[in-house]
Amino acid sequence: MSGRQCRLLFLGAGVLLLAAVWLLLPRTAPPLYDSAPAPADPYRFLTSSPPAAVAAKDVPVTGASSPPFIAGSDENPPQAQILVGAGSLPLPPGATTVRVTITPVAPPPIAPAHQRVDGNVYRFALTASGTPVGLRAGAPATIVLRGPSGAGQATVARFDGTGWTTLNSTPIGTIADTYAANVTSLGDVALITSPSSGGGGGGGGGSGATVAVAVGAILLVLVTAAILTIRLARRP
């Protein structure tokens, strides 16, 4: 294969791959191909204009077990996401697709005890070829929720129809006001926070961040030194 043919092959593959991703995984918002500090979309409430997005995604089933998938709302960054592992769903016989929907809904009349709902309540639902399905025992899904900015420390909680259950929640890296939690069943999920909480959500994580920066800096020095050593060894 000549150099020209090779270059055309690479370019063709690149265009085809981009086209395939846009066709198979359509987005409604343009991407930013950078790790620049993209301004986050303002939080969209159910009553905002435009309102919070409803997300729906169909995932094809190719084998006997359910496929892994990620789905999220279209805001940047998404306000609600779900990550489901392979084989997490008990599929009915003959199921060909799994449909996940994430719908912002009005908050239930029962408020969490001594807490308030921070942002939208999202209803997560799964169907397999039209039949509602839940999660297998021992196969939790991960739900990620972003709340309005400046609300301070929040927790992911699930409403079971009678009350709210707080879930073990983890802040997500650099995405402000965003928390992840594992759930063993779906339904209505929201971030909840203390009524007095407001602000103080920033910061780098105190001493843990300092240690990470220090260890990272040492590692970078070692990496750089190793690269330079290899370069020196290359010289005749």
Binding site: A19, V21, A29, P39, A71, N76, G173, G202, G216, V223
Partner: protein, 207 residues
């Protein structure tokens, strides 16, 4: 910013050089991962106001590229042309969606355009110099262009996960392959860096 001439299919070097290239590739990937961790630690939860951390991240990437021996070439008009074409391809789908009215105009971002542009340009150039420059050269020396495109694209997708989540991986992977193919076609970093920077800048108006 670009090395001169188009890239033909690269042949594998001698075993010793190959081992050294593999070691440099691995070290550069470790360096990128470390840069991401440092950035996360510095940024904390202030995702939308992390310009300082982004510039630090860019400086680390540029330092790693420099330590590996990567040096800027002189970008030619042909490479810049490839970059403009590359940006057009990256921007075409969202522009089409915009024309078709598939998404509504988002509220104006919370930062001023003039404050955002330099940061975007710096980080786009830094990512390309490290990924499609230093790392690409090191991987190509051992495994050839196809592997270099794949490794650089995978690293490109992975380093964006902390900001955009796992859902962004397919598109970032595809964009990484496209930017890598621009590197192969043009023979230098100028084309992917131009495409990357222009596509990012276009985001302001396409969003």
């Amino acid at each position: 910013m670009s090395t001169s001439g188009a890239t033909a299919i690269r042949r594998r070097p001698r075993p010793r050089g190959a081992r050294q290239s593999a070691a440099v590739s691995t070290l550069l990937l470790i360096g990128v991962a470390t840069a991401v961790i440092i950035r996360i630690a510095v940024t904390g939860a202030t995702w939308s106001s992390s310009a300082g951390a982004t510039l630090l991240f860019s400086a680390i990437l540029l330092g790693l590229a420099a330590s590996s021996g990567w040096r800027p070439g002189r970008p030619g008009g042909r490479a810049l042309g490839w970059g403009v074409v590359g940006a057009a391809v990256l921007c075409a789908p969202p522009a089409l969606l915009r024309l078709l009215g598939a998404h509504s105009l988002a509220p104006p971002p919370a930062v001023p355009l003039l404050g955002w542009v330099p940061t975007v340009l710096v980080v786009a150039a830094a990512e390309e110099i490290l990924l499609r420059g230093a790392l690409f050269d090191a991987v190509t020396a051992m495994f050839g262009d196809a592997a270099a495109v794949a490794v650089a694209a995978a690293a490109f997708a992975a380093l964006h996960v902390p900001l955009y989540g796992w859902g962004a991986i397919p598109l970032d992977l595809a964009a990484g392959v496209w930017l890598g193919s621009l590197r192969v076609a043009s023979g230098g970093v100028a084309a992917p860096a131009t495409a990357h920077a222009l596509a990012d800048l276009a985001w302001w108006w396409l969003r």
